[in-house]
């Protein structure tokens, strides 16, 4: 691997290729496509959190002038079981029922019918004309109620998976998981100090600015084209094919530009419905969710309850730790209990631990991935407990973590041995940071916490075409949600030795690009980038071959340097280097066009660690918490485009702080979400946040040619506990549950 100082393109900060079109409004997002003869599709949603559908009568809606298609669950085929794939857990058959309810509606807002009409107003009127008879059932709305032995069942056919003995009766616990090492009882006996706590976090939404939107058109041969805003058009194509029992070959998915996803745009909601409506209507159908629909019926992050117990010796060595982690899956299985359980102790080298995880059904929307799914919830608990432990031991919280931190060669709590990782480097950087050296401002508290995410590899494909003038076209299939076009171009520029400005990047549709898994798991710069690098290496090999032909030498007598073919040392020194443009001028004579390609399943994504700290002021008379300063430190392996890495760190910090301080799904006792809009679902606005200071640590990932680690998800993990620990520091009392909103913090102060 090359040393950092040798890079020419990597580590620079050019403007992203899609930037100008986005700031000038030219970029085409999900709702921007309009087609001749297009109809507007709308979804009828359940007014109950839990009910049996006794009867549904679509006739009046069908008879309305301007209505061209009406569908309900009965129109959809039974779906095959199978993994959804990508970051979201769960079964395709469940996604099919989530897209359109069959016999039961399982949350307030669950779709149960849809119409397509010549205008939105007619479509809305047609929905109102659909008659539904419900048998209203008791909703199951929290973990305690759902896990109780005599609980009302969300799904009568759900039997707990992974139990030692097969479950005999159905349960709302869809699956359990246990991770263990050593002997925790003995470990706790060795401890001088033991801390414990129970922590609750409500559901929160990713809050992407762009609502789900798609347009589908199905031709007379039954072949469908779907434009949609998604993090993975290949994954959505697979899901749609399974749900509609279609051949993948009959579905073409085109990813529009995407206005945020954060994990939430990796599963279908509207797409199969739009294809079904278009099939029936024989016209294009556009569907756009309202913000209210996005909140009520797309996948938020799981609510959770975590019970943590940690014991340590006087010197800070952790002797034992246990975690009990329950996650709300929503109406169908697939909460991120697994990753949450695997992350909770991942940063620490523990001899004795036990983690139990529970994936629990409740009558709320089916959860979806949200940046490092599962980790913010479980690590908020562990990092809060460590803060309590540091206090008990009278130790600096960074020193406590350094005492127990994993390093290269440590056996991760979730299994494998860590290769080179940068956790200790992050901790040491935090300790030395000028912001950490400063005294805590009057009235404020300081919180420190660590973050971790595995990062993913998975399947990517890329092609690189050399244009006739020597400029470069990259074609890949990973929707660009965080500046990945820029990172692809930078890695290609570095590999080929061509200036960034001469490279263009296309995110191809499912017919134009080879298969790419979702842009999720912080995998795109790592995995799709690896495909781009390999495709560029393919180009270099071919160019050397062309130069060899031109020069009449053997291919191994040609080398590639600074974007040109040069003769190898010792070969005829008279030969003038050939640039890409010069090679292309004669390409027709040396073998035709030049096209490089690579398809791979990337291994060794490289774990991402972070350390965050912040100073938060608490108004003891109102409970209002303000963030005064926040510092995010993270190992990026190698930052391909440092500005976009910093952007990921800052964005994750703000989303994590929002979740910690104010964001929450507020349900009433009937399972109705009472704050389905940005006014009452309180995402931080610019004036709520200070500038987030960032420091990128670079401990190269040995599995990537340039040392890249994923950076997109780790940033959201630590801020929850940073906020909780800072509030603890400020008010002298721990508030275990989030959000740390004025009512909750004031109540804690009043109790104290």
């Amino acid at each position: 691997m090359a040393e950092a100082t040798e890079f020419k393109a990597i580590g620079t900060r050019p403007v992203r290729p899609d930037g100008v079109d986005k700031v000038t409004g030219r970029a085409q997002f999900g709702a921007d496509l309009n087609l001749p003869n297009m109809l507007y599709g709308k979804v009828l949603r359940s007014p109950h959190a839990h009910a049996r559908i006794r009867r549904i009568d679509l006739d009046a809606a069908r008879a309305m002038p301007g209505v061209h298609a009406v569908v309900s669950g009965a129109d959809f085929p039974g779906a095959q079981h199978g993994e959804i794939g990508g970051e979201g857990g769960g079964d395709v058959a469940d996604v099919a029922k989530n897209v359109m309810a069959r016999d039961k509606v399982l949350y307030h807002g669950h779709p149960l019918a849809a119409v397509a009409a010549t205008s939105q107003a007619i479509a809305e009127a047609a929905l109102a004309a659909i008659e539904v008879e419900y048998e209203v059932l008791t909703p199951v709305l929290d973990l305690e109620a759902a896990m109780a032995p005599d609980a009302v069942l969300v799904n009568e056919n759900c039997f707990t998976k992974n139990l030692p003995e097969p479950a005999e009766k159905p349960s709302n616990i869809a699956s359990v998981m246990t991770l263990a090492r050593g002997n925790v009882d003995e470990g706790f006996e060795l401890a001088d100090v033991i801390v414990e706590g129970e922590y609750r976090i409500p559901m929160a939404h990713q809050g992407y600015i762009e609502p789900h939107a798609c347009t589908a058109t199905v031709n007379e041969s039954g072949q469908a084209t779907v434009w949609t805003c998604t993090q993975g058009h290949f994954a959505l194509r697979t899901q749609t094919a399974n749900i509609l029992d279609m051949s993948v070959a009959d579905l073409k998915f085109i990813a529009s530009e995407i206005g945020g996803g954060f994990g939430g745009k990796t599963v279908v909601y509207l797409e199969p419905v739009a294809v079904m409506l278009s099939t029936q209507a024989r016209r294009p159908v556009k569907m756009v969710m309202s913000r209210e629909e996005v909140f009520r019926a797309s996948g938020p992050a799981a609510g959770s309850c975590a019970k943590i117990r940690v014991g340590a010796k006087k010197d800070g060595t952790i002797t034992a730790a246990t975690a009990w982690l329950a996650y709300e899956a929503g109406a169908f299985e697939g909460a991120p209990m697994g990753p949450g359980a695997m992350c909770v102790f991942a940063p620490y080298d523990l001899e004795n631990f036990r983690v139990e995880g529970f994936d629990v059904l409740v009558n709320k929307p089916k959860v979806a991935a949200y940046r490092a799914p599962g980790a913010p919830q479980s690590m908020h608990a562990m990092e809060s407990a460590l803060d309590d432990l540091a206090r008990e031991l009278n130790m600096d919280p960074i020193d406590l973590r350094l005492k127990n931190a994993v390093a290269e060669g440590s056996q991760a709590a979730y299994g494998p041995k860590f290769p080179a990782i940068g956790f200790r480097e992050c901790l040491e950087a935090a300790k030395a940071h000028p912001n950490y050296q400063k005294p805590v401002p009057e009235g404020a508290g300081r919180g420190v916490a660590a973050g971790f995410w595995f990062n993913a590899g998975m399947e990517s494909s890329a092609e690189v075409h050399i244009n006739e003038d020597g400029t470069v076209q990259i074609i890949e299939g990973s929707p660009d949600i965080g500046g990945s076009r820029a990172s692809m171009a930078l890695m290609a520029a570095e590999t080929l030795g061509v200036p960034y400005e001469k490279i263009r990047v296309l995110v191809g549709d499912t017919e134009a690009s080879g298969f790419n898994n979702v842009t999720g798991g912080s995998r795109t710069t790592f995995a799709t980038g690896m495909a781009v690098i390999q495709a560029c290496e393919d180009i270099i090999a071919q160019c050397k071959d062309r130069a060899a032909k031109t020069w009449g030498v053997d291919a191994d007598q040609v080398e590639w340097e600074d974007g040109q073919a040069i003769p190898a040392p010792g070969v005829n020194a008279e030969l003038k280097p050939l640039t890409l443009a010069e090679i292309m001028k004669t390409a027709a004579r040396t073998g035709g066009p030049i096209l490089g390609r690579a398809a791979l399943n990337a291994r060794g994504p490289g774990a991402g660690f972070s350390v965050n700290f912040g100073d938060l002021k608490v108004d003891r008379e109102t409970g209002k918490v303000d963030v005064l300063s926040f510092t995010a430190i993270q190992d990026a392996g190698k930052a391909i485009h440092p500005a976009y890495v910093e952007g990921q760190m800052q964005g994750g910090a703000v989303q994590g702080l929002g979740w910690a301080l104010n964001e929450e799904y507020i349900f009433d006792g009937n399972g109705v979400l009472e704050n389905p809009g940005f006014l009452d679902y309180r995402i931080p606005v610019a004036s709520d946040m200070p500038m987030i200071d960032t420091q990128i640590i670079e401990v190269p990932n040995p599995s990537h040619p340039f040392g890249v680690r994923g950076v997109g998800e780790t940033p959201i993990v630590a801020p929850l506990a940073v906020a909780a620990n800072a509030v603890r520091d400020a008010i002298g009392r721990r508030v275990h549950d989030l959000p740390l909103s004025p009512p909750n913090v004031l109540a804690a102060i009043e109790e104290g």
Partner: protein, 329 residues
């Protein structure tokens, strides 16, 4: 549940005189909607939670905007934007309490469009009522917020009667504290209503939050000279610093002589269906200085009689703490 995302068909009237606006409103009866800055109108109509089929836009009536000095104080046109009210030199000099309150409404973008009249006439934020449910306030016979399943963290702890919705207005508290007078025109007749009587609770009228009725146009708000230059305190506590409604707010004005309070107004927002005047506190502070000691001794009176619901117990101590802050000099 059908999610609505488009405006219904609607007629638009743009009169240029108050008389015409009033006449149109009377003629349209229940189907007309008087439109001020339009910051809370379109959500109601898009959600079909209100059924108006015509809008009477007051934005075309020039006489309704502007701030002028009068023989007995200052008169603010009802269509004057919140931004103007918050920045006007005359208001800032004499009625800084109102300027501060207006400057805390929503967000800068909304204050640029939203008006003082609209801010006091807006309907409650109760999420059940806003969802279009047939509750008491909507003419039905149930309160969803005050039911065993109800989520009521933002609802009333005082003055409730069947309905537990709260007044959302940030400026309403300041206007009550300043003894403002609301000028209402209906056809050719004009009536002046004290701010404290402009807002009405559910015991008086459960379907209206103010005294405004068909044909009534709120034309101006008059601030009396008696409270000009008074010492004051305003604070709004919300989950988020901007673009949010109050969890609890306080507007206070004091006339002092030497060290002693001669007259006081303390009014809390978001605790009751109307801006809630703290009469007991006002009486108790007369003759005392604004001090920590006074604050500590009277704060407990603030939430006397409070009946918290399941999820809003925090409002009572919050009221008391805000009263303390208002009373510290």
């Amino acid at each position: 549940m059908a999610a609505h995302d488009v405006m219904p068909d609607i007629e638009l009237f743009q009169p240029v005189t108050v008389e015409d606006a009033s006449a149109i409103a009377r003629r349209l009866e229940g189907r007309g909607w008087v439109l001020a800055g339009g910051q809370d109108t379109y959500g109601w109509l898009k959600d079909r939670a209100k059924t108006a089929t015509a809008m009477i836009d007051l934005g075309t009536i020039e006489a309704l905007s502007g701030i002028e000095e009068t023989a007995d104080g200052v008169r603010i046109g009802a269509m004057t934007t919140l931004r103007t009210v918050s920045r006007d030199p005359l208001i800032r000099e004499r009625y800084a309490l109102l300027a501060e309150a207006a400057g805390k409404v929503a967000s800068p973008q909304i204050r640029n469009q939203g008006t003082l009249g609209g801010n006091v006439a807006q309907d409650t934020r109760c999420w059940y009522y806003r969802r279009g449910l047939s509750c008491y306030r909507a003419g039905g016979n149930i309160c969803y917020a005050d039911s065993p399943e109800g989520m009521n963290r933002e609802h009333a702890i005082l003055g409730a009667s069947r309905c537990v919705a709260v007044s959302p207005s940030d400026t309403g508290t300041a206007l009550v504290a300043l003894d403002a007078v609301m000028v209402i025109q209906n056809g050719g007749s004009v009536r002046r209503v004290p701010a404290a009587k402009f807002f009405v609770g559910p015991a008086v009228n459960i379907t209206h939050m103010t005294v405004l009725r068909e044909g009534d146009i709120l034309t101006a708000i008059e601030l009396p000279a008696a409270w000009a230059g008074a010492e004051h305190y305003f604070e709004k506590v919300a989950d988020r610093d901007v673009w949010d409604f109050a969890l609890v707010s306080i507007a206070a004005a004091f006339r002092t002589s030497g060290n002693a309070i001669e007259d006081a107004r303390l009014v809390c927002g978001a605790v009751s269906c109307v801006p809630h005047r703290l009469n007991a506190v006002e009486r108790a502070v007369i003759g005392r200085p604004r001090s920590e000691e006074t604050a500590e001794s009277v704060a407990g009176l603030a939430s006397q009689g409070a009946k918290p619901l399941n999820f809003n117990h925090f409002k009572a101590p919050l009221m008391e703490n805000l009263v303390k802050r208002a009373l510290r000099s």
